[in-house]
């Protein structure tokens, strides 16, 4: 079990002074994941907020080896790095035990990078893929992705006089990754840091690919005060919008069950992206969202009780 005391003693891997926005979830995700192992880690990052804000030449915020190649290929790039490691280790040219991780936002993971991710997971590389899911293309200015929830207003699914924001449900990527039957898949949240760090530790330890989907609130895109990031993340969990669970060698397990489910309406109300849903003509969408959440939760409970 990780303790805060231990964590404060760990060497820094992502330096402060990077240029991510105040209250951004992405750097918190990266730090929490990288706390979970004491082995050296080589990381690859997809084009996106975490990439552009941490490596503005001639500066870098990374204290560990890092590679960025393009938007859709963090998984295939790291699969190449990990393979080179096995090839060179076999020949005795590398002595250390090294871990490999790829980070991508929901754009680089759910959408444009899905094929590369699926391929890398199927091939069985010993790597951890982390999606920091902020539910839209935030780096290019808040365009919708397949991770954007129903009803959210983004710059390409704006709430207008005829269309009330995004009309489609979000894709359930964690389920898709579980269907790859890789050793470890989990969903985590920065609000439940102990749960997340524990999951990341397991992900690094398994022999083979692991996938972590971590909710990463975005003050700019979700339209809330930047000091509320952790609270917003927490309520996503307690409302069952973002359940915390893991799939370890095919076994589904809920890792956190809210004592009392909070209504989704309360969570939506705190974010400007859902503001239009509270107009009388749109409140039926809030009911629809609540229904989806309740059904998905029941479905997840069934999987976890088997």
């Amino acid at each position: 079990m990780v303790s805060l005391k231990e964590i404060t003693k760990k060497e820094r891997r992502l330096s402060p002074g990077h240029r991510l926005c105040p209250g951004c979830g992405a750097s918190i995700v990266a730090n929490m994941i990288l706390w979970a192992t004491d082995d050296p880690v080589v990381i690859g990052i997809a084009t996106g907020c975490l990439e552009v804000s941490t490596t503005i030449y001639p500066q870098t915020a990374w204290e560990i080896p890092y590679i960025h190649s393009a938007f859709e290929n963090a998984a295939s790039t790291i699969s190449g790095v990990e393979t080179a490691y096995r090839a060179l280790k076999k020949k005795g040219k590398i002595k250390e035990n090294i871990k490999f991780a790829a980070f991508g936002g929901d754009g680089g993971t759910y959408d444009i990078g899905l094929q590369a991710l699926s391929g890398a997971m199927e091939r069985g590389h010993n790597m951890v893929y982390v999606c920091y899911d902020n539910e839209a293309y935030m780096n290019t200015g808040i365009q919708r992705s397949s991770a954007t929830p129903l009803g959210a207003s983004t710059t390409t699914s704006p709430a207008g006089s005829v269309i009330p924001g995004k009309l489609q449900k979000r894709k359930d990527l964690t389920y898709i990754m579980a269907a790859h039957k890789i050793p470890y898949v989990a969903q985590g949240s920065i609000s439940h840091w102990r749960d997340l760090v524990k999951k990341a530790g397991k992900a690094f330890e398994v022999n083979g690919p692991a996938f972590l989907n971590v909710l990463s609130p975005c003050p700019r895109g979700w339209r809330y005060d930047s000091k509320l990031t952790i609270n917003i993340a927490k309520e996503a969990v307690t409302s069952n919008f973002w359940p915390l669970y893991e799939v370890e060698n095919g076994e589904w397990k809920l890792t956190y069950k809210p004592k009392e489910k909070t209504p989704i309406e309360n969570w939506l109300k705190k974010q400007g992206r859902f503001k239009h849903l509270f107009k009388p003509e749109n409140t039926h969408i809030i009911d629809e969202i609540q229904n989806y959440i309740d059904n998905d939760w029941e479905n997840l409970l069934k999987r976890c009780s088997k």
């Binding site: 490596t55 590679i67 393009a70 290929n73 790291i78 393979t83 590369a116």
Partner: protein, 393 residues
């Protein structure tokens, strides 16, 4: 001792790859490259190489994995063709921009649409400005020789750029020819140990590969890259000379065939040069002063060498196996015209687009080119600077 083989071109490539024994191969099958990865897979399965073969789900991931593996200090190879090269397009410039010494074999095949599996150069010509060194091969022997040299060129300290080696789809890739291979040990010694720089696996000296460079640094980085490919000329020549000593086969930047006293010249890449050579021999018997130049290296383009030879002829025909749509002629023609600009006395020049989608180029076609050149010299005029050879009206 060198060994003689009679095999298809893809086997010549696979044999070179076995002898190179790269640390990592990341490749996706595509016609007409498929036999290369199949043959190599068997080498892996039979333990004839140490290579870790990444069986990627697309060419985009093939090139991405190559970039990752090269950044991690591995010796890396891949092979592709046509649509596969097109799908890699985005990562081709990442590979050259990050200065990754990757060796790639591209079996030339037409681009869609219409879909077509046969030879033309539209795939690699489309990638001519991607920052890769490009080497074109006439036959299986040259392909084998070029692949081995490519590793040395790519990894050389002064260059550190990716290299693409071309062979003509089906014509060479599936044609059975005789070729010679070197001893395994000789190839091993020739290519030497890979000495990676700034490896991602050097965890004690962490490096950030691929940072964001904006208007304040990007330009300087690109300028350095342009200088590097320019400087690669000397390295290509040096590696060629060393390889000639080892193999007994010369490795000129441009091959000159009966050019000393030539008045009428054809310039063409790859396998068509073989067809032109037959016609040159035949016409020379009739006393017609014809010749051929076959550039082996297309990037960096051998401007000076070409101008030096072409300046002495009366008329030159440049044969392009691809279109540069909307441009004034094919890619090879455009470059050669540019190379001749400084000459005081310029020869007459004409461009032919030929062989698209694998259309056969016959001896008769080549004879017609030389006879066109004769007419051009007689009249002193090029009526139609760009025309199509072997196409129905």
């Amino acid at each position: 001792m060198a060994k003689k083989h009679v095999e298809v071109g893809t086997t010549a490539v696979a044999m070179a790859m076995r002898q190179i024994n790269p640390d990592v191969l990341a490749a996706y099958p595509v016609t007409p490259q498929t036999a290369i990865v199949q043959t190599f897979s068997q080498y892996v399965a039979d333990g004839k190489v140490d290579t870790e073969f990444i069986t990627v789900e697309s060419e985009h991931s093939a090139m991405s994995a190559c970039v990752g593996a090269a950044a991690a200090g591995a010796r890396v190879m891949t092979a592709t063709a046509s649509a596969g090269l097109a799908l890699m397009w985005e990562i081709l410039s990442v590979a050259s921009g990050l200065r990754m010494p990757i060796t790639m074999v591209n079996v030339n095949r037409a681009l869609s649409a219409p879909i077509n599996i046969h030879c033309d150069h539209s795939d690699s010509m489309g990638a001519r400005d991607s920052g890769w060194i490009q080497i074109y091969s006439e036959n299986s022997q040259e392909t084998y020789d070029n692949v081995i040299q490519a590793v040395r060129i790519a990894e050389s300290e002064e260059v550190r750029l990716p290299v693409m080696v071309m062979l003509d789809g089906f014509i060479i890739s599936h044609g059975i020819e005789e070729f010679e291979t070197l001893e395994d040990e000789d190839v091993k010694n020739f290519i030497g140990e890979n000495k990676p720089k700034y490896s991602l696996l050097d965890v004690k000296e962490p490096v950030t590969h691929g940072p964001l460079q904006l208007f304040d640094y990007y330009f300087e980085t690109k300028r350095q890259q342009a200088d590097a490919i320019y400087k690669s000329r000397a390295v290509i020549e040096e590696v060629g000379k060393e390889y000639e000593k080892l193999s007994g086969r010369s490795q000129p930047t441009i091959e000159k065939y009966f050019t000393d006293d030539a008045e009428l010249l054809i310039v063409v890449l790859s396998s068509t040069a073989g067809t032109v050579k037959s016609v040159v021999k035949e016409l020379r018997k009739d006393g017609i002063k014809v010749g051929l130049i076959k550039p082996r290296i297309f990037r960096p383009f051998p401007y000076f060498e070409l101008a030096e030879v072409i300046k002495n002829v009366k008329a030159v025909a440049v044969l392009d196996r691809s279109c540069s749509f909307g441009a004034q002629g094919g890619p090879l023609y455009i470059e050669i015209r540019s190379a001749l600009y400084e000459l005081v006395q310029k020869p007459l020049i004409k461009n032919y687009i030929y062989g698209l989608g694998g259309r056969d180029i016959s001896l008769k076609n080549i004879r017609s080119v030389y006879s066109d050149l004769e007419k051009i010299v007689k009249t002193g005029r090029v009526e139609k600077p760009v025309s199509y050879l072997g196409v129905r009206k």
